[in-house]
Amino acid sequence: MALLKVTSPHAHGPRSTGGVMQQVILATIPGVAALTYFFGFGILINMLWAIITALACEAAVLKLRKRPIGFYLKDYSAVVTAVLLAIALPPYAPWWLIVLAVAFAILIAKHLYGGMGYNPFNPAMVAYVVMLVSLPVQMTQWAAPISTDVGSFIGPVDALLNSLGLINAIDGHTMATPLDVLKQNNTLMMDQLWQENTQFGLFAGKGWEIANLGFLIGGLYLLWRKIFTWHAPVSMLATLALLTLITYDGGSSNSGGSPLFHLFSGATMLGAFFIVTDPVTSTVSNRGRIVYGVCIGILVYIIRVWGSYPDAIAFAVLLMNFAAPFIDHYTKPTTYGYGKQS
């Protein structure tokens, strides 16, 4: 009779890292579908490049580091990084930009820091910021959503040819994003902006509001499946909503847009549910997650309204990744049976 000595914790989660990551990928589907419907097939082509590059880079670097390749490839973390990066990058960026960004994310931001579970910064956001700082021209070319005056639906073949640099599918079909328009105009009234620019939709940007709604649905699904807790995303969104509510005066674009506009513009929902909740780079305790989310919300507002970049999720998340260990230190839950002081 074998008596195994088993120590706590006795309750085992049935979930593996790979299972969690698969759920995350699954949850991006509504948002990606909305983006594809409004902006054409570019995002799917990007995703293809990104996943191929991510798997190749991951396998190569694991071989160099003499780690089991199959084991780490099966945890899908490289695919999640690739998918999130492909969503964040402009849908009609050239293929080399996607490959470069994903390679940077996997090789430098993830594996040079120690690989899965050791990276202090979210690899997708590091790569996004590197590209944004380095290649401002390519990184700010956004296709116009369909149902605007210059928008047209771009099919899979055109998207692929555009990605390879053979045709320019978005020539004449680009537009400033709503956040960009708001940033450039700070003397007009909101109503005027809405009338003069066709990219504004019901309460935020056309296409953008639906895509954000898609990511919100995906995020709620993950929340329901208990992939992450509500603390970080809800506190981030609440902070952003509160700050915009306080400063929004109802009309002038100088005051930075309504709470609904900010919640459903740019990468807000993608950031809140897919980036901020990254278990590796965020804080550990629930109290810490609230502090983390609130700080990201504040930073997003500050950078969007007063900074020089139109969107701010990546910068805010990276800045708070820096601070996550510090927050962890001060929000350590007290051990049962011990007093308040550490």
Partner: protein, 237 residues
């Protein structure tokens, strides 16, 4: 230390004790001023000049200055040498002088220079010190040049741009466009690119060192072992 041979000084300065890759001293100019080849060359010429002159001077006064005040004395000497090179560059390569800006006077605080003064020049004769300064400067310059070359290449797609700042009008057309239509990759020209490239250079140096070490080990293992005699008489203390 006094009987260090010139061959040893050369190997130490250029490879084994390279100021940039092994001692990791003087990182501030190394990282900040290697965005292009011309900046790197300008900076390394200035640094090498200061290294040689300060090493000579420190070596000359090494028996006169007491130990207690040696560091302030060294810093004074280095500051004087830096002022000299600053005035020289202002006179002859004014444009480069404006590009290098604050990093030129900052050579005073470069740890390589004070480090060599304290570790070598104040214990050795003038010629050995001058040679040590030259070799350390060369080791530093080679790394600076390589960093500048690769950062300019991958940052802008060209190399040797603006060389006329240093070499006058003849160098006007030295710009070599390696990649056509290369989109400027700002990240590599900015400081983070310097960190990454320096890291890769250190890694490559370590790989080469390990490789030679293994070869040496393999050679040693192949050599026939000397026959050992077992000592059987006497007492073991």
């Amino acid at each position: 230390m006094a009987d260090t041979s010139y061959k040893d000084i050369t190997i130490l300065g250029l490879w084994k004790n390279n100021p940039a890759l092994v001692q990791l001293l003087g990182l501030c100019p190394l990282l900040a001023m290697t965005g292009s080849v011309v900046n790197a060359i300008g900076m390394s010429v200035a640094t090498t000049f200061v290294l040689v002159t300060s090493n000579i001077d420190v070596s000359l006064i090494r028996n006169v200055v007491s130990d207690a005040v040696r560091l302030p004395a060294f810093v004074m000497i280095i500051a004087a040498a830096v002022t000299a090179i600053q005035l020289l560059m202002q006179a002859f390569t004014y444009d480069l002088y404006t590009v290098l800006g604050v990093f030129l006077p900052l050579i005073t605080t470069n740890c390589v220079i004070l480090g060599r003064a304290d570790a070598f020049a104040c214990k050795n004769n003038v010629f050995a010190s001058a040679y040590d300064g030259l070799m350390m400067g060369l080791g530093f310059s080679i790394v600076m040049f390589l960093l500048g070359f690769f950062r300019e290449l991958f940052g802008t797609g060209t190399v040797f741009a603006d060389m006329h700042l240093l070499f006058g009008p003849i160098a006007q057309n030295w710009t070599w466009e390696v990649f056509k239509d290369y989109p400027q990759f700002l990240y590599i020209i900015l400081p983070p690119g310097a960190f990454i490239f320096t890291g890769f250079m250190i890694a490559i140096k370590n790989i080469i060192d390990n490789h030679f070490e293994e070869i040496q080990k393999a050679q040693k293992a192949q050599e026939p072992k000397e026959d050992r005699r077992v000592r059987i008489t006497g007492t073991i203390s």
